[in-house]
Symmetry: C2
């Protein structure tokens, strides 16, 4: 497994593009992106669980159910959510225009929209964006596409890796956006994954769900889950390597790389979280089972008081214990211990004899780890979260104006 | 029902005091409070559901189970939470000292501690506080007590009302503190309620639970539930009015006043929420049942994105709809309508034709109302919340330092 350049266009047979079509009001930044496979590809997607699903999510779920696709078009600057029947018609019209340009079927095109909710898409500009993207498609277009899907992200996010097989090799690439509205049960985000592996829809879907569960479902910036979340993967088989079948060595290598890619992307979203000045790993162990551990970790990761303590660089372990205590999971208070990196702050339900200066120094770092043990069993889980800063408030108080 | 002065000492037979004993480090502010009944009183309490219950809460639950008590001692500046076995011993020792001074039994004394978690109580100062409070008890001491229980509150909170009965009248008084860590399932707070009504422990307990459920359980500042939450009520019968029995007119008047007092106190906690610049009522209707409505209302009230929009005075109804959508309650997106005061922002799942200037003006006010209808049935609920401001972050990032 080797890191390579090229993002979503690193795998063979993929092209991408990103253009500025004026969808981001008053901006000359890229706001439309297209990722396309030169050949039919297996597709799988994971979608937001929000009841107020955006129309593109409804469309994409239909495409993914079918199991094959060729392209993903994304616009930023304007979500297509809470837009009623018009929203679905706009999503479909966008797919049609892309399909027409690529000479493929409409139901081979996924569409994503991200930005302010409740405003219908400016279809004249979206059409301009589609046409621009079609003309600009290139095997080096990943960076343009990664920039075009950004909203409040401060950096474009792209990764690619090469996985050696017994014979030959396969490649994985990804671009993602997300930064606010990142919550568990899928971060609020868009991630487009490409691979030139040959894999059937069933195994790809299972693998994607597993990978999302241990990556994008274990991160938190705020606690809001958006209407437009999606992780979608296209696998076009262009590597020439044999079909990947679960149970084989090659499949195991691919699955491991796939999950590692998702974890790295997920952590990147937290690192670039809105206003984030800290990247904090919350590790919980000793729970009755893994689900309980995840619930405790998530509750600490989401707590406003823990997140402001991270921002304030304050090793206020009472807040971490308190959040664990209201997570809904049962444990004995006297069995709780808490560490900050290797410094034990709490021991068996009360203060441990640590040096305040050591703890303060650890929290001055940009990254640290809170480990909580609740002494009930062998269940464990990890969550990644950011702090809650003044900039988070500024970014979200001023988002529309 | 008439508002009167006097707080917890307005009802007959109650005295109170508040003194500065140096428990708040480096401060000359009041930090110890005592509320005492001259005669044995019926007692009822509602406590935090946090697993990491503070030792005083464990002690008070035992007192309340017994059904009678005479005094409530509270210190601010230092919680007695995550303090292990020593914490329980300290709570009991405090009750003993109060009981000794008042010549009553130790198990007639409730104790409360609020402040930073994880630091053992400075018992020398607590003892000094107990002695000072005992000496200062007075029938006009409510304000001193109200000030002594404050932590990040900006104003002391006290209320009293008189309820005319068929013959004579009874009085209710209360003091409360709370401002950060205010979350549903009881706000993170302390509220001490006194009354000179005569009422048995069973009916008092039922009434207190009902009242808390429609007041302190319907508010939110952040989403954290503390280890030290308590609402406790002493009823000493000194009014001379007959025993209140459920099913009678007199009981109904008392119950109505009791609930109104709790609602007003709860709303006051939100108005004085940490860094709050807004007081927002979230009203949900048309849910399948009241519980579903409450879940939706709570999710909107807790959403960081909704709360930063309140702070930013941004009528970003897409965020309100989005939060409703991830509440876990099922409804049809196309049936959702949202109003800001009387301005309809969303109609049947999409934007309503409102004037942006009208909506912006409404959100510039200090108080406004978000009403959400989800078109499923007749379930309704109300929640009160504050905004998420820069000051909230400052207050909680700097709390210990």
């Amino acid at each position: 497994m080797k890191r390579i350049d090229g993002g979503v266009t690193a795998p063979k047979g993929f092209r991408a593009s990103g253009v500025a079509a004026g969808v981001k009001p008053g901006s000359t930044k890229n706001d439309c992106a297209l990722v396309a496979s030169d050949f039919p590809a297996t597709v799988a997607g994971v979608f937001t669980k929000n009841v107020m699903k955006a129309p593109p999510i409804v469309w994409d779920a239909e495409v993914c159910k079918k199991g094959t696709a060729r392209a993903v078009f994304t616009n930023s600057g304007n979500a297509n959510a809470c837009t009623g029947e018009r929203g679905y018609a706009d999503a479909k019209a966008t797919a049609e225009r892309v399909a027409h340009g690529l000479r493929i079927d409409t139901d081979e095109v996924c569409v994503c929209s991200t930005g302010v909710i409740g405003v219908p898409l400016p279809m004249d500009r979206i059409n301009k964006g589609v046409d621009g993207c079609l003309g600009a498609l290139s095997s080096t277009g990943s960076d343009d596409a990664a920039r075009a899907i950004m909203t409040t992200d401060t950096v474009p996010k792209a990764l690619a890796i090469e996985i050696p097989l017994d014979e030959g090799s396969i490649r994985l690439g990804a671009i993602a956006k997300g930064s606010g509205m990142i919550a568990p049960n899928m971060a609020t985000m868009i991630c487009i994954i490409t691979t030139d592996a040959a894999i059937k829809a069933g195994p790809l879907k299972s693998l994607l769900h597993e990978a999302v569960n241990t990556s994008f479902n274990q991160i938190c910036v705020d606690n809001d889950m958006s209407t437009s979340d999606i992780v979608v993967c296209l696998a076009n088989g262009c590597s020439g390597a044999a079909h990947l079948t679960p149970g084989t060595d090659n499949y195991a290598r691919f699955a491991e790389a796939f999950k590692a890619l998702c974890v790295e992307m997920a952590q990147w979203l937290v690192r670039d979280g809105e206003g984030a000045t800290k990247f904090v790993e919350i590790a919980v162990e000793g729970a009755h089972n893994d689900d309980d551990a995840k619930t405790i970790a998530r509750t600490i990761a989401q707590s406003q008081l823990c997140k402001t303590a991270f921002f304030g660089q304050d090793p206020n372990w009472g807040r971490f214990a308190c959040a664990a205590g209201y997570s809904g999971v049962t444990f004995e208070p006297d069995a709780v211990s808490i560490w900050l990196n290797d410094i034990q702050l709490m021991q068996d339900g009360a203060a441990a004899p640590y040096k305040e200066a050591d703890a303060a120094a650890a929290m001055k770092e940009r990254e640290f780890r809170i480990r909580v043990s609740v002494g009930r069993g062998s269940g464990s889980a990890v969550f990644w979260t950011s702090d809650l800063s003044h900039d988070y408030v500024s970014i979200n108080a001023d988002y529309r104006s």
